[in-house]
Symmetry: C2
Subunit: 585 residues, 2 copies
C-alpha cells in the first residue's frame, strides 16, 4: 500500500476521504471499548480511533508504543466543539490496520527525552532521534544545506571536494592521524580545514569555490566542539574584503529566509575588533541587547581611589538592582575571567551606597550622567589592564543577560561583522609573536611597513568574523597572494624559511605560479544550526555525535583492534604505565 | 576594479563597450610591434591586442605565460572576414593593463597536459587543474551536486551527515584506522559507507535520507578506485523496490538534463542478473551496442567435438572479420578471464574455414542461421562451466567493442537496472556461503523457505545495480527489517550469534525497536561523473587524488610523524625487517 501523504501534510482537502498512513505508535489509550492511537511520522501526529466492531480492531489491539503501523481509515473532522484550528481538528476512523513491525519497550519514554541522561540518549540515539525536537533540528539543518547549495550554485561557486587523507594543515590544533598500509610507518592527517586546498583551487583558476567540509581537530571537547565537525567553506578570486562580505550577507539572508522565514536586515553592521572589545568585552559580542560599557577611566585618574587611579582602563556596566548574592556570583564570573575583583555601587537617590561608594562621592554626578543607571540599579566596575578589564566585564555582561533575560525584548537574531582584527598577537607565555587567524591572512596594505618593527602588534589584518547572538559562526580573511608578503609574515611569527618550507612547502611553491588576489571564509555550520534552532549544544544538531571523551556510546567507538591489523600498518600499541595520566594531558 | 563578467559570459551586448577582465595569460605573441595576449579564466579565452602606442603597452610588455592580469579595453568585433560565429569573433583592444601577479615558468606546458606524465601533473596539480579539460570535469561535478541536492530536497529527502570517526562497517574491505588520544590504544575506523547509520536513520523515523558521503576503503588501487571516494547515499522508508527505482530514475534523468542537457529515457530497462550474465557475460553489461551471445550448447551436445560436447554451456559471439593477430589477442583476453581458449571460425560462403571449422560441418547451417554472421565475419566461442564461459566471452565482447569502436552508432549513454541478484554466493576457496551485496539485503519473500536448504544459492535478493555504459554506477537493495530474517541471514553466511553481535550488536539492538520497511541505494559519485564527462579515470574528476601507491604527490602525504606525537596516542612504529614485502601484500 502507498501512503496518501505524510501525516503533517494532510489538510482540509482530505476531509471525509479514505487515507492510508504509515508511522509509529506514539501512544495508545483504551477508553470505553475503543482504542485511541497517536500515529507519528517525521511530519506530525494524528489521532486514530478504532471502534470495537471495526474489522481493524483485532490487529489494532496488537499495537504497543513504537510499533510500526499502516493505518487505513477516514480522515474525519472532530466534533465542532473540540476544534481548535489546525491538524488536531481531524482524526482517523480506522478501517484497516497492519502491524508492519513490533518494538521492544523503549529504555526511556520519548516524550520525556529532555530529562533523560545524555548517556542514555546517546546509547539509544536511534530512539532519541525520533523525538520531534531532534527531527526539527536535523530537518532545519537539511533545509539549510539545500538553501546554501542552491544559492552558491546560482552565484557561480564551484563545489569541490578536498582530500580527507592529507597532511597537517595550519590551524595548529592536534591532528588525527591515519596510518598508511601501503606506506608503513607513515601517516596521513585528517584535515583540520581545507584552507590550503581552497587557496590552491584559487591558484588553479576556479574563481569561486565552496564545500560543506568535514573537518577534524583532536582537542579536548566542550559543549560546542566535536572531534569531527562541518564547515561551510568558501573562497573567491579577484576580490577585496567587501566583495566577500556582500556575498556572505546575501547567502546568510537567503538561508534564514528559506529555512526559518526570517528576514535578516542587510548589510550587516560592522564592528571593528577594538570597539567590540572596548564596548562589549568580546570579539563576538551578543548584540541582541545593548548594555554597552561606559568608560570612566578619566574620572578616577590620579584620584584617591588607588585601585582605579592607576588602572589603564576603568569600565563600568549599568545593571538592574542586584542582591548581594547576585553580586557575589557576578564577581566570581569576573574573577574566572581574569579580573582581581568586581567593584560595585548601588544607586540611591542622586548618589550611591554600598560597595566602593565611599570612593566615588566626588564623581557621583558624572557617573550618574554617563551611565544613566536607574534608581536602585547597580554599577559594576572592571579596572586594570585594558584587555583583562574589558574581557572580565564582557563575561559579567553575559551573566547579566542570563540572569535578567536581557535579550527578551530584542530581535530573535542579531548578526554582525567584527573586522580589523590585529594581524599578530604577542604570546606572553612563549614571548613570541603569533598569528591571530592563520599565517595566510593578508595584512592591511597600509600597515605593511610595521612588519619587523616594535609596532607590529598594530598591523591590522584583512580578517573578519561573522557573529550571531554572541557566537562566532564564521571567520575568514583576504589571503596573502604575494610570496614576498608571505615571507614577511612567516618571519614575523618566527618561522625560519626551512620551517615554513617543511610545513607548507608545496603551498609556497604554488604561490609562485600566478596566484590571483583572493579571500574567503568558513562558517561553523554545526554552530550556526545550533543557534538557528535554539539548541544548547552542537550535539543537538548532529545526528550521531561523540560525548566529551570522544566516544560514540551507540556504536562503541573507538575500540581496540587486533595486533595483526596494527602490524599491517607497521604499528604496535605502547601504552605508558599509567594511561589515565596520559589521557588527561 | 570589478570585472565586467567572466570571459566566457561576454557576448554581443558587450560589443564596442569598455570591459574589464581578469585572468591568466594563456599565451603571448608579439607581431608587427603589437602584443597579442590570450587571457583565460575558468569560463573561456579571449584575444587581447595591445598596440605599441597604447598607454597599456609598457605594463603589457611585462606579461608572460600564466601571469595574472587585469585588462581594460574595448570589446571589439573582428574584421568581417575573420568571423566564425561565437566568442572568437571578438577581441579586446587594451587601454589599461595591470599585472596582478607574476608566475614562474611552469614545469609543463598546460596545453600539452595530456602528454605529460601523471606524476608531474599530480605534483603540480594546481597547474594541471588550470587545464580546460579538468575545469570542465570539476564544474560538471559541481553542477551535478547542485542538481542532486535540489531534486532530493524537493522530494522530501533529509540530508544527514553520518560519523567520520566510527566503527567497522560491513563492507568487508580493510578499514583505515584512526588512533584515539583520549582513549589510548583504541581506534576509530573511517567509514567504508554510511550503511548502518542510514538504516538507523530509517529506524529513527527520518523517512527519506541522502548524503554525499566520503567513504574510505584501504584496498589496492586501480584506475577507478581511490582510498577515499564519494557516494551519493540514499535511503527510504515504507517502500518496495519499485519505489526506490522510480525515484532514482527521476533523479538521474534530472541530473543528466541539468548538467549535460541530455534526456535519458525513463523508465530504465530492467535486466535480471541471470540474463545479463547469460547474454552479455557481465553483471554490468555495456548496452550501448548489442553483440548479444548466441547459445549453441544444444548444437554440440553428445557430438564428436568433445570440448563442446561435454560443456555445460557453449556460447558464441559474432564478430567482424578478424586477423589472426586480433584473434590471438582476443584469446589472450578470454584466457585472462578464465577461459581455457577461444575457439573461432571464419564464415566463408555458406560454411566456415579456419579454427575449429572441421568440427562444425554438420551444424554449419544452424550456426549461420542463429548468429547471422556476415560474409568474412568471425564467430568466437566460449565453452565450459556456465559462469566461466559467459564471463570470458563477456570480456571478449568488450575487447571487440574497443577494437571496432562498436559504440559509435549507439546512444551516448545507455543506462539500465540489473536486478534479481542472488542473495548468497558459494565461495569455492573457503567452502562457505557469503553475501553478494551485504548482509542487510532483504531476500525475495517468496524465497525465504530456501534458507538453510541446499538450494539457498537460488534465493533472489531484492537488490539492484544501476549500470551506465558498462560501469556499475550505483547499487542498493531493500533491507531486512525483520530481526528474525536478519538472524536467518547471519546463520546462512555462517556468523554465530556472538560474531554477529560483536560486529553489529548496536544495529541488531536497533532493529528490535520498531524498524520500518526500508531500502536504498548508493551511487559511486566519482565513477558516475567520470562516465558522464568521458574521462578515463576517476582521478580526472577528483581535484586532489592519490596515485596508486596511495600517495598525494603534491602535499607529500602520507609522511612520517614524530615519535612524541605517536606516544600521545599510545603507539610506536614497528616495521618488519623487510617493509617492501609488507607493502606489497
Amino acid at each position: 500500500m502507498k501512503r496518501t501523504a505524510l501525516i503533517g501534510h494532510l489538510n482540509d482537502t482530505h476531509a471525509h476521504q479514505t487515507v492510508t498512513l504509515q508511522g509509529w505508535v506514539n501512544r495508545r489509550r483504551d477508553l470505553g471499548g475503543l482504542i485511541f492511537l497517536e500515529l507519528r511520522d517525521r511530519s506530525g501526529l494524528v489521532q486514530v480511533q478504532v471502534e470495537p466492531d471495526s474489522p481493524a480492531f483485532a490487529e489494532a489491539d496488537r499495537l504497543r508504543a513504537e510499533y510500526v503501523a499502516e493505518i487505513e481509515g477516514t480522515y474525519q473532522p472532530r466534533p465542532e466543539a473540540q476544534r481548535k484550528g489546525g491538524a488536531a481538528d481531524f482524526e482517523v476512523i480506522a478501517t484497516r490496520v497492519r502491524v508492519l513491525n513490533t518494538a521492544r519497550t523503549t529504555p526511556f519514554e520519548l516524550d520525556k527525552g529532555d530529562s533523560v541522561s545524555e548517556d542514555i540518549r546517546m546509547r539509544y540515539r536511534y530512539l532519541d532521534l525520533r523525538r520531534p525536537e531532534m527531527q526539527r533540528n536535523l530537518m532545519l539543518r537539511s533545509r539549510a544545506v539545500a538553501a546554501v547549495t542552491a544559492y552558491l550554485d546560482r552565484e557561480g561557486f564551484v563545489q569541490v571536494e578536498t582530500p580527507m587523507l592529507t597532511k597537517s594543515t595550519p590551524e595548529g590544533a592536534r591532528d588525527f592521524l591515519v596510518p598508511s598500509r601501503q606506506n608503513p610507518g607513515e601517516f596521513y592527517a585528517l584535515p583540520q580545514s581545507p584552507q590550503l586546498f581552497k587557496q590552491m583551487l584559487m591558484i588553479a583558476g576556479y574563481d569561486r569555490y565552496y564545500q560543506l567540509a568535514r573537518c577534524f581537530r583532536d582537542e579536548d571537547l566542550r559543549a560546542d566542539r566535536q572531534p569531527d565537525f562541518t564547515q561551510l567553506d568558501m573562497e573567491m578570486s579577484f576580490v577585496e574584503q567587501d566583495d566577500v562580505l556582500a556575498i556572505q550577507e546575501g547567502l546568510m539572508a537567503h538561508v534564514f529566509r528559506e529555512t526559518l522565514g526570517v528576514e535578516l536586515p542587510v548589510p550587516f553592521p560592522h564592528l571593528p575588533y577594538f570597539d567590540a572589545m572596548n564596548d562589549y568585552g568580546s570579539d563576538k559580542p551578543d548584540l541582541r541587547f545593548d548594555h554597552k560599557f561606559v568608560d570612566v577611566t578619566d574620572l578616577f585618574q590620579g584620584g584617591e581611589f588607588k585601585a582605579f587611579a592607576e588602572a589603564q582602563t576603568v569600565k563600568v556596566i549599568a545593571a538592574p538592582e542586584l542582591t548581594r548574592k547576585q553580586i557575589d556570583e557576578l564577581e566570581r564570573v569576573a574573577k574566572q575571567n581574569g579580573a582581581r575583583g568586581l567593584a560595585w555601587l548601588k544607586r540611591d537617590g542622586d548618589g550611591f551606597t554600598g560597595g566602593v561608594s565611599k570612593f566615588v562621592t566626588a564623581v557621583a554626578p558624572e557617573l550618574l550622567a554617563r551611565t544613566g543607571v536607574g534608581q536602585g540599579g547597580t554599577l559594576l566596575f572592571a579596572a586594570g589592564d585594558w584587555k583583562k578589564a574589558v574581557s572580565a566585564l564582557g563575561a559579567v555582561r553575559l551573566a547579566l543577560r542570563d540572569l535578567f533575560d536581557l535579550t527578551a525584548g530584542g530581535p530573535q537574531f542579531h548578526i554582525s561583522w567584527v573586522t580589523d582584527f590585529p594581524q599578530l598577537e604577542f604570546d606572553e607565555d612563549s614571548g613570541t609573536w603569533t598569528y591571530m587567524h592563520h599565517p595566510f591572512t593578508a595584512p592591511h596594505p597600509d600597515d605593511l611597513a610595521l612588519f619587523g618593527t616594535d609596532r607590529q602588534g598594530e598591523i591590522r589584518a584583512q580578517a573578519y568574523d561573522l557573529v550571531l547572538n554572541g557566537f562566532e559562526i564564521g571567520g575568514g580573511s583576504v589571503r596573502i597572494h604575494d610570496p614576498a608578503v608571505q615571507a614577511q609574515m612567516f618571519a614575523a611569527i618566527g618561522f625560519s624559511e626551512e620551517q615554513a618550507r617543511d610545513k607548507f612547502g608545496f603551498f609556497m611553491d604554488a604561490l609562485e605560479y600566478g596566484t590571483p588576489p583572493h579571500g574567503g571564509i568558513a562558517w561553523g555550520f554545526d554552530r550556526l544550526i545550533m543557534v538557528m534552532s535554539g539548541a544548547s549544544s552542537i550535539r543537538e544538531v548532529i545526528a550521531f555525535p561523540k560525548n566529551n571523551r570522544g566516544v560514540d556510546l551507540m556504536a562503541q567507538a573507538p575500540s581496540p583492534v587486533d595486533a595483526a591489523q596494527l602490524a599491517e600498518v607497521g604499528l604496535e600499541v605502547a601504552l605508558p604505565a599509567n594511561p589515565v595520566a596520559m589521557a588527561s594531558e
